[in-house]
Symmetry: C2
């Protein structure tokens, strides 16, 4: 038997580590490399856990089958969610009345001591904007000493890109999921250059925030109320037909939002010059829709949160130090690990060493199937983050491997309108070793420098390993 | 020798007609089919002409080399052209003062007797709109009897989609090629449903045209003048990044135009309600930009027209009976042949038998490298016209075979930002047998029914055969 096996021509299927196959190929043997890695990256405990939690079609009583059923409910909620911009609160304190000398920030909780440069810079800026301090030094002392408290956006039902700072006087978008009735919030996009969310806090930053409060928000509020609500799900869906992945590229979504805004604003009794100023700002801010896309994704994923036993990821958030995930069936707990550095393209004069670790709540869009999951929709984004149209498509294809849903509202034209992948299953990430792809902006690690590039980052595997452990415990299997 | 040839295993490269290869494959022989057809579709005269007119790098004195040099000039003009919307003329007669009881129409000249249903219907509507007649019957008699004259848009420097009717009271866009100084015009898009350009002429059509004259055009004019000009080349270029091919799909281009319009209109001293009405109309008309895209393409291609000896196609126009082309070095002559039927998708209740032959001046966009030539940019368009994303890409790839230029402004994201194909060379169409691809709307053959579908049509080969003959004559070779 052995003799006949090696008497013929040898063709090798090499599974896993490429080095085996490479060695064969170097010696002239035919070898096909199968891209596979053991679940849990070879850790037998993790591999055993994920095997124990696998669904079993034949036995509905297993813990895995119970998770499958829960995920089905969570996916249905994701697909049915219908986020609509209903209002603009003129001040965050109108939404959270007990928000006094308090700042909301992106990601999981973090202390001042641990906090990254851009988030510190943004907090200082917010303190100056609020008038709590008159110098940056004074603001830092207040923040360090606890005179200004801070909490995460997510627990307030909010999301903010990059540093994600929301202070009591800032206006916020009010997005309602019309299907399930839950509400999500976000701050307003400041455009590019020197902006608070990247840690800038100079006079022009503060002045813009004041203009938001005094001019932008009142016009937006009146226009949105006059419109009867702006359908964000429809805009996201259309924008995917128009080269956006609605996270790092929002050129089309912003234009579509702008059309509805301008029609509503000119139809309402708003002073013409204020309307003009606001429209000019939105037209010049191609990422204006980002914050709306995030709030829409938050409203969608919050509806899928809290389904008992579900292993669907309902939030991915980065505070600039850790990347953290929340899981539908695992309550408010964050499963976190140090953030990775995005890989991408840097603006002239900057390089990877300057980059802050991955930052911001914007990865909520990926949990809802946008961003890296819909990368196939946005070959244009490769101009900003690098890569090719084929790679963009490849990312979307990969994400099907780790998701439980297909969203017809996230239809991908380059893939002949395939319904996009949605609802990350912790078990599938572990089982396949495929980390979720996020498209992202890259912040300078020092406060105030701002955005220095854009790229792609993968959610660290350790987040999922920790979540899996909690799922095992929950199922009494640990 | 013969013996050794057939003693081995037979592998056949079959060139041209598939039937040879098919027969071999049916008998189990290996056969590779090469998609090729003889130049001039097997007509030896045509094949000889195209061979005679081929460029010869080694001998700059040949007629073909002279054509090559001329085409280089024409291509440079196409790439350098920079169309900008400078003004809106409130009435066509402001542009053409001697335009009295006269209608401009799409395509090459055509008599009332030969004219297709939709164009007749549109002419009747224009006569009613102008008040030249009070009933459709009376209008028809005037048109038939010569009391209303008609001429082609193209000779007036204008273009109009479908029937392409411009009457003296209609407002027109004024587009200037800032590089070469030439100006082009088009009428204004009416949206979908019952519209003049598809031959509808009922009261709601006339009423809309009156509103164009009284409300839309004055607002557009003031906004455009206040803006200092709206850069159409930039919008086309951006729209190609956003899922438009800027002929049959203009969703992004319209949104981008809308943003500039709304900012300018609210910045100018225009009555708020009129601004609101106009913005609402444009926002609801996703093909609003089509007529601007056409005028931009006309301004671009007119700059490349009249280069002595050039074999570049500077216009493709269809009057609903014939498809006609103009060639840069061949003056105002049209080379025409009966139009083909578009192939595509029909709206519910309609079918191919209902379709009018290919109609309208909008194929000017393809001469400028948009539409079918940039189909790779618009997988979303396949939802309207059928086909797949791969086929859209295939069409763009094919068009490289028949063009002399690559336009970096028409960059195609799905092809990793390749500069799009532009400037159809009559010789290459004949030589390769590849007919230019046009994306197009499909009109019902009866007046007044309107659009019944959308699809793709190829420019008939005979247009190029005729143009080639003229090129041969011009070079003294016929």
């Amino acid at each position: 038997m052995t003799a006949s096996l090696i008497s013929g021509r040898l063709a090798v299927l090499s599974v896993g580590l490429d080095s085996f196959g490479r060695s064969l190929r170097e010696h002239g043997a035919a070898s096909l490399q199968l891209d596979w890695q053991p679940p849990g990256d070879g850790d037998p405990v993790v591999a055993w856990r994920v095997a124990q939690l696998a669904g079993d079609g034949a036995d509905p009583a297993t813990p895995g089958s119970r998770i499958d059923r829960a995920n089905k409910v969570a996916v249905e909620r994701v697909l049915a969610a219908h986020p609509v911009l209903m209002d603009v609160a003129l001040h965050a304190r109108d939404v959270w009345p007990d928000m006094d000398r308090m700042l909301l920030h992106a990601g999981a909780p973090v202390t001042w001591q641990e906090m990254c440069g851009p988030m510190r810079g943004a907090m200082v800026g917010a303190a100056l904007y609020e008038g709590w301090a008159s110098t940056a030094d004074a603001a830092e002392r207040m923040l360090e000493g606890g005179a200004i408290r801070f909490a995460q956006c997510h627990d307030a039902g909010a999301v903010g890109p990059m540093a994600g700072i929301i202070s009591p006087s800032m206006p916020v978008f009010v997005v309602r999921n019309q299907t399930h009735g839950n509400v999500a919030y976000s701050n307003i996009n400041e455009g590019i250059g020197k902006v608070l969310r990247f840690g800038a806090n100079g006079p022009e930053v503060i002045q813009r925030l004041k203009w938001f409060e005094q001019v932008l928000a009142p016009v937006l509020k009146r226009a949105v109320l006059a419109s009867g609500g702006i359908d964000l799900k429809a805009i996201q869906s259309q924008a995917l037909m128009m080269g956006d992945e609605v996270h790092s590229r929002n050129a089309a979504a912003t234009a579509l939002f702008f059309m509805r805004l301008a029609v509503a604003a000119t139809g309402a009794d708003i002073e013409r010059h204020a309307t003009h100023e606001v429209l000019k700002f939105v037209a010049d801010t191609s990422q204006f829709f980002l914050n709306l896309s995030m709030a829409a994704a938050k409203a969608t994923m919050d509806a899928a949160h809290g389904v008992e036993y579900s292993s669907i990821v309902t939030a991915i958030a980065r505070n600039g130090v850790t990347t953290a995930i929340r899981v539908s069936g695992l309550g408010r707990q964050w499963f976190q690990t140090p953030s990775d550095q995005p890989a991408g393209l840097y603006f002239p004069g900057f390089r990877a060493e300057d980059a802050n670790p991955d930052l911001g709540d914007s990865a909520i869009t990926e949990t809802a199937g946008l961003g890296g999951f819909s990368f196939a929709a946005s070959p244009a984004l490769t101009q900003l983050v690098g890569g090719s149209a084929a790679q963009a498509m490849h990312y979307s294809r990969l994400m099907y491997e780790i998701t439980d849903g297909r969203n017809p509202a996230n239809s991908l034209p380059a893939m002949d309108f395939a319904a996009g992948p949605v609802a990350i299953d912790v078990r599938k990430v572990i089982d396949t070793g495929i980390q979720p792809v996020l498209t992202t902006g890259i912040a300078h690690r020092s406060a105030g420098v701002g955005q220095i590039g854009a790229g792609v980052v993968r959610v660290p595997m350790n987040c999922f390993v920790r979540a899996l452990e909690a799922l095992s415990l929950q199922s009494g299997l640990a």
